[in-house]
Amino acid sequence: MRFRRLPWDPARILVTSMSGDWLIAEEQDFTRLVNHEISTEEAFFTDCQARHLIARDTYRSTLAPLLSQYRTRKEYLTAGPSLHIFVVSLRCHHTCSYCQVSRRPVGDSAFDLGNEHAAQAVERLFEWPSRNLTVEFQGGEPLLHFDRVRSLTQAIVERNHSENRSIQFVIASTLHDLTNEQLAFMREHQFALSTSLDGPEWLHNANRPRPERDSYRRTLEGIERGRRALGDDAVSALTTLTRRSLLAPDAIVDEYVKQGFHSISLRPLSPYGFARATNLRTGYGMEDFLQFYQVALDRIIGVNRSGYDLEETYGRMVMSQLLTPFAHGYVDLRSPTGAGLGAVVYDFDGRVYPSDEARMLASMGDDSFVMGHVGQPVNEWLDSPLMATLLDAGVAEALTGCSDCAFVPLCGADPIDHYARQGDTIGHRPTSDFCRRQTGMFDTYLKRWEDGSTFEQGLLENWGLRRPTTLGEEMAA
């Protein structure tokens, strides 16, 4: 049992079980509980017992439900990495100041994934045990080396005839200059398209400069063409939030509604690549991000109240953590860390990384987190000193500042982020941006859950349980 005083009401306490079930108690009740002063006749006793915070008699009470919940929450441990990122090229036609992958000029094919490395990467892919694989093509701009996207897809599909895994192909792209031939291929293989839309035109173009200054127009055109060819649900968009973005939360949300998206992802900048070099211009502190998030969330809830379905993806995952024991395996919300255990990155030069952030550090000249090379079997990567280092720092339940935190059953560990920000894989929790963001988000949603109207609670519940809801549906109920 772990607990935390509510920041907005320190006389009330969030109490969590080892498997992430929870309740909020008055301080005096909680103190009586710990001191064995609660009567078995009290409703509070029954509530704590139902949430597996206490057991009346460990010799007679069954702990099987608690075991089942814990095992369910850690289910991602049993399958190995499900996300496999193939970097087909570093070439890109944008010059974003916060670029995290240190892109290369459009004509520089020396930074394309070659035949031999591509073939070896496919071999490595099928060494992992996961039955469900997401194969994501990234760059730079992967469309600039679409021949490689095509050949890798075909090789994976061919190999999968004997492997029989469930494979989802995704391409993370600006969607600029999409051709009909590319779209036809993607339709054939049921690709999902993931692009970036930072907000209204003035913001998107300011964040993502092209020589022609028309990134927004090209992105919308790509979204439209992608939807026509693959279906609306196949195209998703993410924001990258610069300091400029924090001034426009309502405008960003409104843009996503305007473009017909039903999901928005509000993620803060990370300290990698050009983002670190331009931090003075584009960066901001975590308190600024959390303030921005509150305003944006107000707008998102308002949009839903007006009858339009729109979820915030991280909020959905936080609510899922709070309301269910099911594991979604998202890298920031899992312990042990997702680095190398939830995701693997196969870079254009054959080097392999446990996360995209590790690749970004290498692009900045820090090779600390190179897991190995595609020419090596997976066993060698997992036996490497790097994986030992990541696991030493990647189990939140064993980290100072995390081990006693009430959120630890729901939260995660990110050794690479702590290394990048603080120079140490374990990090210092009181000054950790990762910790501040995580606790800030959990606090945000707990408070919204507590204080929210019936509609808001219903909305957040549906996010967590992944059911769509609108005000119209509520009124009809």
Partner: protein, 98 residues
């Protein structure tokens, strides 16, 4: 605000209770801990010249109380917790050679 000094009754709280609590304040304070026969003394000094909030002493006191409760819970449930985790994860598939 200048340095803050708080003394805790060593017959009620342990040094570990106080250590764990003061660690939570190391984002804003430099912490000094010392003991006398029946007291544990904490001195908090501001970091980088940023004054400490007037509520810091009260927050620290609450945090030490919380750590005392956590210690009590750990003593009572630590072994069971470890047993349950081991039982729950026994089924995790071991990595097999290709």
């Amino acid at each position: 605000m200048e340095d803050i000094e708080v003394a805790f009754d060593a017959t009620v709280y342990s040094v570990e209770d106080v250590l764990r609590a003061t660690h939570r304040f190391t984002d804003r304070c430099v912490t000094h801990i010392s003991t006398s026969p029946d007291k544990i003394h904490v001195r908090l000094a501001p970091v980088a010249g940023i004054p400490l909030e007037p509520t810091t002493a009260g927050l620290l006191t609450n945090a030490v109380v919380d750590e005392r409760l956590r210690a009590s819970i750990r003593r009572e449930t630590g072994e069971l917790h470890a047993t349950l985790v081991k039982a729950a994860l026994t089924g995790a598939r071991p990595r097999s050679a290709p």
